[in-house]
């Protein structure tokens, strides 16, 4: 079972390749706000959730796909870890 750091690393890689092509990976730190800054809009959030569900074989509810759970890499890792 992957730990939170591994989840963070994998998610960071996914976000960089899908939504932030060409951006400096070092700038995507664990506290960068993804939803409130507009990097993850509703469509991108949906894509990320589908990726997390498929990758970790978990189910994320609609009400969980919000700023509380997906705003930073840390938040995402915590949500995924809580479902493993």
């Amino acid at each position: 079972m992957p730990d939170q750091n591994a989840i963070m690393a994998a998610t960071k890689s996914f976000i960089l390749s899908e939504f932030l092509e060409g951006e400096d990976p070092d700038e995507l730190t664990e506290d960068v706000e993804l939803i409130s800054s507009g990097i993850l809009d509703s469509l991108a959030t949906l894509k990320l959730v589908t990726h997390l569900e498929n990758t970790y074989d978990i189910k994320i509810e609609a009400h969980e796909a919000d700023e509380d759970n997906l705003n930073t890499l840390v938040d995402i890792a915590k949500l995924v870890a809580s479902k493993l």
Binding site: D31, D41, V49
Partner: protein
Amino acid sequence: MKQGATKDMATSKLSKARAAAARPEVPVSAAERWLGLGLVAVQLALVVAAAVRYRFESPVFQQALPWLAAAAIVHHLLPARHRLAFFAAISLATIFYFFGISPTGFDFASALERGGEVVAIGLALIALCHLPIPFRPRIAVLLGVGAGLMALRGGALFGESLATIWPVLGALFMFRLVIYAHDVEHEKGKPDFVRAIAYFFMLPNVFFPLFPVVDWKAFGRNYYNDDAMRIYQRGLHWMARGVLQIVFYRIVYYHFYVDASLVEDGSSLLRYLLANFALYLRVSGQFHMIVGLLLLFGFNLPETNHHYFLAESFTDYWRRVNIYWKDFMVKIFYTPVAFSLRTKGDILPGVVGSAVAFFATWVLHAYQSYWLRGAMSFSLQDTLFWTILGVLVMINTVWEARRGRKRSLSARFDPKEAFFAALRTMGVFAVMGVLWSLWSAKSFEQWLSIWRFADADFFGRAAVALVCVGVVKIVVERLTTFEGGLLFGATPKGARWPQLLRSAVLTVLLPMSILWVLGHPGVHRRVDEKTRFILRSLKSNQPNTADLRAIERGYYENLFDASKSNFLDSGIQAPPDWVDFPEIEFLDTTGDMRYWALRPNQSATINGYRVSTNAFGMRDRAYAAQKPENTHRIAMLGSSHVMGWGVHDGEPFEALVEEGMADQRSDGESLEILNFGVGGYSPVCQLGVLREVALDLAPDAIYYIAHEVDGSLAIERLARLVQHKIPLEDEFLRDIVARAGLSASMSQSAMLRELPPFAEELVRKSYAKIAELARERGAVPVWIYMPRVPERQPDAEQIGKLRRAAEDAGFIVFDLTGIYGDTDVEDLVMSQWDLHPNAEGHAIMARALMDVMRSDERLGFGGPTSGPGETGAPGAGPSR
């Protein structure tokens, strides 16, 4: 074991990182913190002073704002554990305060009763969200109760007694209850009722029916989630931005706006499109003030609107223009729908989710209208606007799903990207400007009709305007990427003293000081008249000329319908228990050309004012039917201004003049001025007044009080007389009716479409007949143009026509244009929703009228005779 330890370490590391990111303190020492608070207090005082000086929206809010600002400072000084409860208590107090405000002082009984009703119903609704039953049945109960409340709002039961509370209850609960019921279902732990009370009754919602839809989770999550000083600085920045946006809105509203009916060429068409689009500044200005104030209480909420004129795509526009609404739609409609379809590919979920969100937006705007105004509103323009915008957003969504959207982790300025962004912005701006004009048009037909003026001149000017938008986009892009937007005075996370000070100076202290100085009466006295007019307009909260006429049209039409008048779409409305003139109990239809008249010997308190009638049905003291000997009797004819709608008995200017001139007859006679004014009376009605009552009381003079709207009022009243088959005694009236093709079977609006070409003739012949009837009985006809208070820019051409008509009819003519001088309109009217003059306004009218009476010895008050054609009151203004 190893795995658990790793997890703990990771969690610990994450927690530390997050904590460090979240709350770096700004001032370190106690002295610095006091200094920071002092800086906040100074800025807050300046913002409040500017907001009050510029009359930020409703007078009730202006009165409350200094107290709310003081409460914010007290809130900060309290121990952190008591702050939320204090905010909740202050919020509840504003509810009671709001209901206690009345035109005649603070009404404690109303405050307790109405405030108590709102709070009790509100608490019951919150409790329903926590019923210990499964989610779906709980939602069913809420929907049932909501439907019941909507039925009550429609007047099904307790219509009169609960009428005042519905807009407030609706504003507090109509959307937030949906979010709350949704979110608490998934919340862990015990319900936090203090937070719930703070959330639902949050100040300053009660003062703003149009309130951003605050998210329950964001409300809790962001509470003091950053250093307090940074949150406050951000809040002050937004409040100041709110004041500035309202001032910009007024520049557009008073000086650029063109009503659709006045579009006559390419230039005015462009002005109409641009100004209509820019009028949204009022909403965003309000939202910035509201959310800025909430930040001062620690709720570090996100921005409500962000550079929406500079959106680069339609989805971008949707994300920027009303961010809280977009978030609400995403949470309640888009995400559940898109989630349920997320296995169906990349495009379908987004498209269907967007379609559902826009359909919901359209329906919920009508639902909002129902709660705030009491009537659903589904116009063709609404439907087209939301449908077209929804389709554009869906197309944009598909495009982004296929091609991706450029995102960036850091703000960088790339000239090439900025250029293409500017091109996209120009396109979105053009389309949204056109769409916005459709949405705000009075009818689809009217909107279509303005496009016949889209000539080469229009397209040339529009191209220049769009290039300007593009340039602004590039400049803003450059500035926002320069040092993280610090040139704009941004307060980013982690900002420290130098940045906070820069923000304080650039975004609050400097602009608010300039604004405060520009609004100072001393400055107004030192500038020329044109500049003074512009500066004063920035402080005005009154309708512009076009809206004033629209309101009057509505007002006079409503006189017959007895419906509540709304102040256009501004959100400023009369209290539900406000009595419009036709609703007063002692108004009877007469069956003659007056159409209606006041019932004799009545007395009642209306909107807080004592209104009494004498034995003749005049709003006046008692008079003998037989004129006493050695008495000069004047019959004063007019409408609601003469009657004194909005002041106590004894305060109409007619009564003040009678008292002030009582011993000034040059022949030593006593003076009687009989007040025949009744709301809604037009020149046509005055013929009925003379024949039915006034001439029988043997007046020595007839004083006809004219207004700029005499023409429109005359045709509206004539249409009503025709519709009610009231006999027209005058041949010229029957002739006009015949030539206009009117019949009793036609609707009022159909008749009003036919009559405007006859308005001038109708006024001229009515004036001539009034003067003729007066002379037949030996009374001197006197015509006095009395400007209404909001007429800062009188229509000189229209007044000139009325005056010539009066002169040709043989009246002695006086023109009192300009009598209100530099006095602020707001100080002279009853309220924001009823622009009739208050007691001070009547005092000014009385002084001006007494001046002209003394100035012309033909009136018998001893003054020198003016020359022929002459007219005017000393000191009554330059345009006489």
